[in-house]
Subunit: 218 residues, 2 copies
């Protein structure tokens, strides 16, 4: 049976990937866990532990080959294959996702955008025409997108998610500020901007309190 990797590890992988990508661009050939740990501000031990969940990518006395490790982490993250993405909701957020070139570069191919608003239908975003929601079932059934990015108002999110899942979609990138209750074999990744902003707000207050405290101390 396959080992289950903790979410803590998974969360760190994209960051390793980003750093290795930068090193690679700078044509750095090799790097030790110690050196990488200093740049990334984590422990060398953690890097080695994390990587060894997936295999021994390094070499004693040498370290890690940047190009090789970059490629291997890419494979672990599934970036070695194309992902066919459909966006539902062509509001600002949907359009922002469609226009974000970084995704295409990483193999996420945005092939369709859907919206209910008649005035949006036919408009072109990032080279893709906005389609009517009435075409959605047909599209999903026949084109089988790997990922659906859900950028609809939260009132409709659950319904749309249920629909596309019933038509065969297995992965949802959810931007609606609500929880999707879906069968457990459906992969869901949430981007909850409001929660992010609230954490920022919390930390602003915490930082202020801390400052006040240090002022009192003097």
């Amino acid at each position: 049976m396959q080992k289950v990797i903790s979410t803590a590890v998974i969360k760190r992988l994209p960051r390793y990937y980003r750093y290795l990508g930068e090193l690679r661009k700078k044509e750095v050939v090799r790097i030790s866990s110690k050196e990488l740990s200093e740049r990334m501000n984590v422990t060398a031990s953690q890097i080695r532990q994390d990587l060894n969940n997936f295999g021994g990518f390094g070499q004693q006395g040498y370290g890690y080959n940047v190009e090789y490790l970059y490629t291997e982490i890419g494979k672990i993250l599934g970036l070695d294959q194309e992902h066919h993405v459909a966006i539902i909701g062509a509001g600002n957020l949907g359009q922002a996702i469609a226009n974000y070139g970084d995704f295409a570069r990483r193999g996420f191919d945005i092939r369709a955008i859907f919206d209910v608003k008649p005035e949006l239908i036919g408009k072109e975003i990032g080279g893709v025409k906005i389609r009517s929601m009435s075409e959605l079932k047909d599209y999903v059934t026949n084109q089988k997108p790997d990922i659906v990015a859900l950028a609809v108002p939260k009132e409709h999110a659950m319904q749309v998610a249920n629909d596309v899942v019933s038509w065969g979609v297995g992965a949802i990138w959810n931007f609606a500020p609500t929880e999707l209750h879906l069968p457990k074999d459906v992969v869901v990744e949430n981007v909850h901007l409001t929660e992010s902003l609230m954490r920022l707000s919390y930390n602003i207050r915490a930082a202020k309190d801390k400052q006040k405290e240090s002022e009192t101390e003097q």
Copy 2:
């Protein structure tokens, strides 16, 4: 000295807040940690532990008053005060943020948007006119926004962040896919969409592997 709350706890607070908000809307008056835990799919113990980091909000034999707890968590998150937000970058992402009504409802008041593109300047987004970046220094210095939302290309993110921080900004909501190295008293909250998408990609592959495995078993 003030107790430092772990990030694990802080991450959960907005979710509690959201659930309590829903209960409140449904006019539920009281709730026990057990009942809430079942709805939220966490342990009752965790809820009580989390809340007791901030004080005793409940009552033995009764549970928690929904309205009161909602308000208190709001205060903890700093949602009882207005936040003056300025967005830098009026591309799709900046516009999406500006148009997102949920933020205003939570006291995040978006008062200004900046961009370099001449064709965007003067255009109105969510009731706010886009200003030229040349006005930025003046605006930040005089209007002192609490939060700067950074929605500029990653190449410029670090520079702009440094600038606004040097002009007095203490909190940055960063959407650029890069790390901002700033003085430690500056609060930074990152929204790294590419990393989110990579985690989704990882989980798609993991789910596929799992499925394949269970098929082989039979």
